[in-house]
């Protein structure tokens, strides 16, 4: 009986001492962590992709809690919803940011860009770029080894077997991993645009027109036709390459029509309806547009007739 009492008492005293020590140590070395960090982290997508510029979602949550002005911060994966939710928790203001998407600025498919040599080295764009300029006459375009596909953690890029070029799928969150991975810098983050509609120059070849055209039939030759056509001054031509500023572009698609090499791509637009010009550009142009429209109308009507027959 006595033994049992002593044992229980000893254990109880030891337990109490240990608990007291642990309690005071815990108080002494307590690290205060803002509970809001956890709350913010909850709403973040937990992709840990680094698209925000921070090492992981927790670091981004910390940054959001710590900085007073969070208008510079943005989670491209979660987009406006996530940012609003996070800002709601913190009671801070966020700047409205447009959803972005990565675009591949190269259209050097096997047909457009004939091969001039064959590469049989390591299947890595970075290695290939460190060895030479590529297996075609264009030293700026896609090498096709798929470093961007490797880099993508969202499974949003795949290589098109036919064209040998990467294709960016709609689930792209614009984290920018592929942009960093591409040694040729052909991937750019651009505005998704209303209804996912975008217009961009799908070429990065800085060579002079003739040289570029010889290497790739879909190359931008720097002819400046699009620049002259653009009513919004959105297009600049530098180093023989046109660039469309996505903040100025109003998606009128006039540049797409005038590009002689089809280097300007339009995405997700419905097929263009040709009607008498409604935008009222300068007189002669309107006439030509009308003329074009007429001819196309004739064609369609004749087609219809054929169908009817």
């Amino acid at each position: 009986m006595n033994v049992v009492v002593i044992t229980v008492l000893t254990l109880a005293i030891l337990g109490t001492i240990a608990a007291l020590v642990l309690y005071f140590v815990a108080q002494k070395f307590k690290v205060f962590e803002d509970p809001r960090i956890d709350q913010v982290e909850e709403v973040l997508p937990a992709a840990n992709c680094g698209g925000c510029g921070f090492p992981g979602c927790r670091a981004f949550a910390e940054a959001m809690v710590k900085s007073d002005d969070i208008s510079e911060l943005n989670c491209p994966v979660g987009g406006a919803d996530t940012m609003n939710a996070a800002a709601g928790i913190l009671g801070k203001e966020i700047a409205a940011s447009d959803p972005m998407i990565a675009v591949v600025k190269c259209n050097g498919t096997c047909d457009n860009r004939p091969k001039t040599n064959f590469y049989d080295g390591a299947t890595s764009c970075a290695v290939a770029a460190s060895l030479y300029a590529g297996d075609t006459g264009c030293s700026y375009g896609c090498l096709g080894c798929g470093d961007c596909v490797e880099a993508c953690t969202f499974d949003a890029i795949e290589m098109d077997e036919k064209t040998g070029l990467p294709v960016i799928k709609d689930n792209c969150v614009a984290c920018g991993a592929c942009v960093d991975a591409c040694p040729k810098n052909i991937i750019e983050l651009r505005k998704r645009g209303p209804k996912d509609r975008r217009v961009f120059v799908s070429c990065v070849n800085k060579d002079k027109g003739g040289v570029a055209k010889k290497a790739c039939s879909a190359a931008c030759i720097g002819c400046k036709k699009c620049m002259k056509e653009c009513p919004f001054d959105a297009i600049t031509v530098e180093n023989n390459i046109a660039y469309i500023d996505f903040n100025k572009c109003k998606l009128c698609r006039k540049c797409v029509a005038v590009c002689p090499t089809n280097a300007i791509h339009e995405v997700n637009f419905p097929p263009k309806k040709v009607k008498p010009a409604a935008e009222k550009p300068s007189a002669p142009k309107a006439e030509t547009a009308k003329a074009e429209a007429k001819t196309s109308e004739n064609i369609t009507s004749s087609d219809d007739k054929n169908k009817e027959e």
Binding site: N117, D120, G121, A122, S124, S130, L131, Y132, A133, D207
Partner: protein
């Protein structure tokens, strides 16, 4: 027991088909394209314009910094244009294109074949002349020679080592220079010794060139201070660090230059160029190029003007064989596959190697089996399999710790790998990145 370097090394088949073939002088082409970046360092700045008339040896591009060098016209004629052309790197780079008219040399160049033994120039004048003549290391690295000769303050040089190893398989340009220009090498060595203020010079030759060893040993007996050192055949003995280790048993610390151990290394071809620059006033505008390969009908050594399209050389060596798989600029170990036959000969073109289709093909890469052959082969004591993984996974800080920058890119690891892993390709990539990071840190 012959000397050699202590770490690693491999024995690739030598295949020196063009050995003993007399140096043939290539006819001057109708047009030359002279790149302005033919050396390590800043590209030269063109000083001629479209339509200017130039003679052989006229300065056409000026050195644009300390580590940079002059470029001279290799032909006489009119500057056609300055435009971007594809060079040996595969990328487009600026070059001066000259249409050839006649073959008129600058008057200052002494074109006689007489040997001028007496060295009148002072050490400073020698370095100045070497710099003005646009001389770079002709072994293939193309490091400006005047930089090597200018011993930095606080350092002393006590021995000059002449690199006559030519350890790359196939290549024979240096071998042939030694046989044909032995006297010039000796005087050139004396000039270099004078400029470095040393009284000892060692010519390191691998003993697969017994005729060159014999010839130079005979000549060296009448020049005080110069000795010929026959070396055991082993690749990459032509690497500066390996050659110093082999000849004088001194090891250069990681990340340092040969001057740290009191040695300066120059290639034999460079030595002849130095002789010609100092004694004959002739800038560097031509070089000996080996054109060779198993399928080449006439493997040869050519003396070609800088800017000659390699196509001309291949034609002179019997034309491009039908089953050609790769054309390599340089030797098979360190050379680069060329993408066009229009690429011009530059100061660094030591050879043009034509490989047959079946021998040029890379085999399929397999998994690393951790056999450690690459470690045994590495002449710098590195772990290539690890460096490849680190480069692939982009662990740059660890790669730096593992001394990736010490790699001399000799290719022994890739050569020896039984799984055909492209070790060097990845290491080269890693070197580029780590180098960038290190430079950004010092800024």
């Amino acid at each position: 027991m012959l000397k050699t370097f202590s770490l690693g090394g491999i024995h690739p088949p030598e295949n020196k088909f063009s050995a003993g073939k007399q140096i043939e002088v290539m006819p001057v082409p109708a047009q030359v394209a002279i790149p302005i970046a033919q050396h390590i360092g800043a590209p030269a700045t063109p000083v001629v314009q479209k339509g200017d008339t130039v003679k052989v040896g006229t300065l056409i591009a000026k050195s644009s910094g300390f580590v940079s060098t002059n470029i001279h016209s290799s032909v006489s004629g009119t500057v056609f244009k300055i435009d971007d052309i594809v060079d040996a790197s595969g990328y487009k780079k600026a070059a001066i294109i000259i249409n050839v008219e006649g073959d008129e040399w600058e008057e200052s160049i002494d074109r006689s074949a007489d040997l001028v033994k007496e060295i009148t120039a002072s050490p400073e004048e020698i370095i100045k002349k070497v710099g003005e003549a646009g001389i770079v290391g002709l072994g293939g690295a193309t490091f400006p020679s005047h930089v090597k000769l200018s011993v930095p303050p606080g350092k002393t040089c006590d021995v000059l080592i002449l690199n006559a190893v030519e350890c790359e398989p196939y290549l024979t340009a240096d071998h042939q220079i030694m046989l044909e220009k032995g006297e010039e090498i000796m005087v050139g060595t004396q000039i270099l010794m004078k400029s470095l203020k040393v009284d000892k010079a060692i010519i390191g030759i691998e003993n697969n060139k017994p005729d060159a060893i014999k010839h130079l040993t005979e000549l060296a007996s009448s020049y005080p201070g110069i000795t010929v050192e026959p070396l055991k055949v082993q690749y990459p003995q032509g690497g500066e660090k390996q050659l110093i280790d082999a000849c004088i048993k001194r090891q250069i610390p990681s990340g340092k230059l040969p001057i740290e151990v009191g040695a300066v290394v120059q290639n034999v071809g460079t030595t002849v160029a130095v002789y010609e620059a100092v004694q004959k006033n002739k800038p560097l505008f031509e070089r000996v190029v080996t054109v060779t390969g198993k399928s080449v009908s006439k493997p040869s050594n050519f003396l070609a003007r800088i800017g000659t399209p390699i196509n001309n050389l291949i034609e002179a060596a019997g034309g491009l064989p039908e089953d050609t798989g790769k054309i390599i600029g340089g030797g098979p170990m360190m050379g680069k596959a060329l993408t066009s036959t229009e690429i011009p000969v530059t100061k660094g073109s030591s050879g043009i190697l034509i490989m047959k289709n079946e021998e040029a093909k890379r085999k399929k890469m397999q998994n690393c089996i951790k056999c450690s052959k690459c470690i045994s082969a590495c002449a710098m004591g590195l772990e290539p399999y690890l460096l490849m993984t680190l480069s692939d996974k982009q662990v740059w800080d660890r790669a730096e710790e593992e001394k990736i920058m010490d790699c001399i890119e000799c290719g022994s690891c890739s050569y020896t790998c039984p799984s055909q892993r492209p070790l060097l390709d990845y290491i080269r990539l890693g070197k580029g990145k780590v180098g960038q990071i290190m430079r950004s840190r010092t800024k």
